[in-house]
């Protein structure tokens, strides 16, 4: 063991002594490993986030939205789903234990005693928190009675509550929604951001009847609906049936596109993976290229170094180093440098991923896996590209090496 530690120490001395070589190799390896680290973290982050979203969206949930894909593309969200549709669906699907209409109005001025806030007003039935698995942590949900009475009541997201009420409890207080005085009956728990990146905690939930009549001047149409099924394993089949029923209700002839869209947890995962995917591919190419470049930088600098150290190699051979000892020494130096590069690269990756998250809401997640992959790759570069120069060193003829 003492021999191995001596070899380690001597390699370390060499790594320290040939500073320029060390720095160049280290930096180039670090850049590659940083990129790879980000990819691994981003991939893991995407999966983790997708998993979280599916869990909070509800794996048994389906969302139906008004408007075709085409209409969405040009920014028009024409409402096509009616309350009658929702009632018909409720009747037709006995396994749908929740069928909740959903409609909303964006950017509504809400105020309380001079505090103003731009909120999103969501209209829902009384099952909102159950439909979204989103608990009311203070006060309570509004009731079916409130729906029937067009009551001016609402439950509030955390962010709105903070902005308007600070530390006070909003429950029981009246806020102005446009010109409508609305009594807050409950507060929702913190929810964070949607898959698209917007805050979910800036909203106020009110009875859909109130929102339609008093804020939208609307009697039939809503933006969408949310369903939850008890027969989880059949969600795909239910989606097909739902589609057929809605096409029938909307009298869409065969060959015409749907005037609605249906989202399942799978679609959300797909969306997120696609969002992350392009970036992963881009960084992946950059990472692999920079690792290869790093490898060539290392191989070249080590070849130069072998030339510079011919005498050293000769001395070592003279005092009894075998070819494989010399080979091991140069490989050890290479691996030592690339390992350091790997560690630096990992840290660099963590920092830049944090920046990326900060700038672009990019989901990243660091685990031992990202670190292990980075480390193994750095060893692969060290051994793979260090081997040729190390062989050259090992195959020098001792007397010639010593006489130079």
């Amino acid at each position: 063991m003492e021999r191995f530690s001596l070899l380690l120490i001597q390699s370390y001395e060499a790594v320290k002594a040939f500073k320029l070589r060390t720095i160049f190799c280290l930096v180039s390896v670090a850049l590659g490993i940083a990129a790879i680290t980000i990819i691994v973290a981003a991939t893991e982050g995407a999966y983790k986030k997708a998993f979280d979203i599916v869990a909070s969206f509800g794996p048994d949930s389906v969302m139906v939205m008004s408007g075709s894909d085409e209409a969405r593309a040009i920014g028009q969200r024409e409402k096509t789903i009616t309350l009658d549709d929702i009632e018909a669906i409720r009747q037709a699907f006995p396994t749908a234990y929740i069928v909740v209409p959903s409609t909303w109005v964006g950017s509504v001025n809400v105020s309380y005693k001079g505090n103003r806030y731009q909120s999103q007003i969501v209209g829902s039935s009384s099952d909102y928190s159950r439909a979204w698995t989103w608990p009311v942590i203070e006060g309570s949900d509004f009731t079916d009675e409130d729906i029937r009475r067009y009551a001016n009541v609402g439950i509030m997201g955390q962010e709105v509550a903070r902005e308007l009420f600070g530390d006070q409890s909003p429950v029981g207080k009246f806020v102005q929604v446009r010109n409508l005085p609305v009594q807050i009956v409950g507060v929702l728990s913190e929810r964070g951001t949607s898959p698209g990146g917007g805050s979910l905690d800036n909203r106020i939930i009110m009875p859909y009847t109130t929102v339609m009549k008093k804020l939208q001047n609307e009697s039939r149409y809503v933006v969408g609906m949310r369903l939850r099924f008890t027969d989880l394993e059949n969600v795909d089949g239910r989606v097909e049936e739902l589609k057929r029923l809605l096409r029938y209700l909307h009298r869409i002839p065969d060959g015409q596109p749907d005037d609605f869209r249906i989202f399942t947890p799978k679609d959300i995962v797909k969306f997120l993976v696609a969002l992350t995917g392009s970036l992963v591919v881009f960084i992946g190419i950059v990472g692999v290229i920079s690792l290869i470049v790093a490898g060539f930088v290392l191989a070249n600098l080590f070849l130069l170094s072998v030339k510079e150290r011919v005498k050293e190699i000769g001395i070592r051979r003279a005092v009894g180093a075998r070819k494989k000892d010399i080979l091991m020494q140069f490989l050890m130096e290479a691996v030592m440098i690339t390992t350091a590069g790997g560690v630096v690269g990992f840290l660099l990756g963590v920092i830049s991923a944090q920046l990326l998250t900060y700038v672009a809401e990019f989901p990243v997640y660091f685990s031992w896996k990202a670190f292990a992959i980075g480390l193994v790759l750095s060893w692969v570069v060290g051994v793979g590209f260090g081997l040729h120069p190390a062989r050259q060193a090992a195959n020098l003829v001792p007397i010639e090496a010593i006489r130079t």
């Binding site: 060499a14 005092v319 009894g320 180093a321 070819k323 010593i402």
Partner: protein
């Protein structure tokens, strides 16, 4: 009486120069007994460097019989030659050949890196050797911080760390002034007096005078 450290019988060594063979050693017969202090003298081109390379097992003869430390050198492969150098031969070179980035202590320990038969307390032994040549205070120094004479003393410690049968010094004082040269030769003499077989290769008669046996080499043939 123990077996001789080195037996050379009718050794030749040829090099290919262009398309003809150049014979540098033309049948050398030489036996070196244990505990001898021998000087091999010759001018440049006499073949003394070639002889030194052969004796140090850095190169193998073209023909002849060569036994070193009881091994038939002609039969050994590269790894076995390395092992032989490591365990049985200590080298001292004209320009010291220390590793510039390693400390004095680390330099002395280099041969132990390649030793298969494990020896305990190599560090203690290195410190002991350095103390014998008066460098115990300089163990953490780098070679560039030492004078030429000090560097050569470190090199001698390195040559002795694995306790070899043969200490081979190639012009050990070639780069030193006469006073330092005398110091180094005294170190070699004391090493010999402690029982080590020493061979010095030199062109300098004053240096050769330290040895008890002087061998002349001229045109690839030796004479005493």
């Amino acid at each position: 009486m123990a077996a001789p450290v080195c037996i050379m019988e009718n050794i030749t060594k040829s090099f290919h120069v262009g398309d003809q063979d150049l014979q540098v050693l033309k049948g050398v017969n030489l036996t070196i007994e244990q505990g001898e202090f021998t000087a091999i003298m010759g001018t440049s081109g006499s073949g003394k460097s070639t002889l030194m390379n052969l004796m140090g097992c850095l190169d193998v003869p073209t023909s002849g019989r060569f036994i070193l430390a009881g091994r038939d050198v002609m039969q050994l492969n590269d790894d076995e030659l390395s092992e032989l150098r490591n365990e049985h031969i200590g080298f001292v070179f004209q320009s010291f050949y220390l590793l510039p980035y390693a400390t004095v202590l680390e330099n002395v320990l280099v041969p132990t890196l390649y030793r298969d038969k494990k020896k305990d307390r190599v560090r203690d032994r290195a410190a002991e050797l350095l103390k014998l040549v008066g460098l115990e205070e300089r163990m953490k120094f780098r070679p560039t911080q030492l004078s030429g004479g000090e560097q050569q003393r470190v090199a001698i410690c390195r040559a002795l760390i694995n306790d070899p049968e043969l200490l081979l010094a190639d012009e050990p004082t070639g780069q030193l002034d006469s006073r330092t040269a005398e110091e180094i030769m005294n170190v070699l003499t004391r090493t010999n007096e402690r029982g080590k077989t020493v061979v010095v290769i030199t062109h300098d008669a004053d240096i050769a005078a330290y040895a008890r046996r002087i061998i002349q080499i001229r045109d690839g043939i030796i004479s005493e």
